[in-house]
Amino acid sequence: MSGNMNLTLKVWRQKNNKTRGKFVTYNANGISPDMSFLEMLDVVNEDLVRKGEDPIHFDHDCREGICGMCSLHINGRPHGPNQLTTTCQLHMRSFHDGQTIVIEPWRAAAFPVIKDLAVDRTAFDRIQQAGGYVNVNTGGVPDANSIPIPKAVSDEAFESATCIGCGACVAACKNSSAMLFVSAKVSQYALLPQGQTERYSRAQAMVNQMDAEGFGSCTNTGACEAECPVGIKLTNIARLNREYFTAKLFKEEEVH
């Protein structure tokens, strides 16, 4: 098998949230450059299982870049070295033979480690449950053009809605801020007619939950945007600020 790589992995191993973790070094030999990063870990794990050792725990589900379940901080960056890529879509050809790869879990107080590289991201679920929905019955599929909305606006809402909730924005941010995620979730409703009823309550409720979960505050470094696998833009954060301040300062009847 020519072209295959031998790699050294430094993997964060941690039994559970109560214990302290540490880095353990593994060799990953004969790795094909066409494998995904997760497949490479599968190979290492099979080896560990064969030896009777505890396999490395990491999150994954769809393995096609749409669910947001895979995580991993690889050589200092969430989802590894490539832009607009989830870890399941990261291929080993992005690394070279003999390379040492350091693999860490997302680091944030709001994302406690469950085991090894798997972290608990239910904080995102709770933020979503705090306001990321509409209470009005939107009915069945409406006739085309029956809801007046400019294409540019619906496109923007759609782009915001592509957030897969992976948490790379939090992982990349030096403050562990969840603003990019929350702003995407607020924007997808704030821009659409169906989201108007609860528009200002939503911004307040979701920001409130975000703060309660212990995420840091945004200092506009832009690291989140650069590392987001689906390209959620910083302009969403400006929109969230706008929504929130408008709610608090100008929508007396909606402040709660």
């Binding site: 430094k10 880095f23 901080h73 050589n75 200092g76 960056r77 070295p81 350091v102 860490e104 680091r107 944030a108 107080a109 709001a110 705090a130 306001g131 990349a172 030096k174 403050n175 562990s176 801020s177 609860e198 309550s201 939503r202 307040q204 409720a205 920001v207 409130n208 939950q209 975000m210 703060d211 212990g214 995420f215 840091g216 505050s217 945004c218 200092t219 506009n220 470094t221 832009g222 690291a223 650069a226 590392e227 910083l234 302009t235 954060i237 400006a238 929109r239 969230l240 600020n241 706008r242 929504e243 929130y244 301040f245 608090k248 300062l249 709660h256």
Partner: protein, 257 residues
Amino acid sequence: MNKSKPLLSSTLGKKLIMSLTGLFLCTFLIVHLIGNLQLFYNDQGKAFNDYAHFMTHFTPIKVVSYLLYTSIVIHAVYALVITIHNKKARPIGYAVYRGSANSAWNSRNMGLLGTVLLVFIVTHMSNFWWKYHNDAVPYIEYRTNLATHETTATELIAGEYTGYVKYVDNDFEILKAKDLYKQVQFAFQNWILVAFYVIAMGALSFHLIHGFKSAFQTLGWDHKKYAPIIRFIGIWLFGVVIPIGFAAMPLYFYFSN
């Protein structure tokens, strides 16, 4: 939907305070720079000393200056509060963290740059503001011939004269005032102080290149048409012109002696 906390106890509210105080401090820099350009006049410091008196005695300006001191304190205190909160949000750091791959150095080190600026402000104010307000600077008398516009300056002996007067006497304009100009000349003989001023202005540049545009982002003003203008002003006015203008002052006095 859940009850939410009051504006200022949220992370966004705290950022709003940072943004507003920061922008206010930015506008101050413009005024301060334009005023201090009078240091470059070749008039033995007459215009500058007259201006210094005006800035410290005209009531509306005094009110604004207290607003300014308050803003500096609030900006620094909130920065500390936010930083502590942000550090708590990541109790265990990364072994490898490649911030340079996704963000600018200055955007990640605003606290460090701000600390340099705070030390600078304390040094700067104790050198000039404190000395000026506590009679630690000498007095000077300017006599200007209104026909020929020639000015002669005489230092007044310490203790012999205090106060500020400006009047016309037989075609001569007489101005007696505190000689802050002299203190400026004196302070900038010290190369260590000059070097510190230049370094601090470098920190100011990096702080504002991020800070100015960041303030507008926090206010929620990101607009296809105006964001590039804001970025341009942040880089060229606040990142280049203003810091270079200020740094030129200590350098000018150091090298013109």
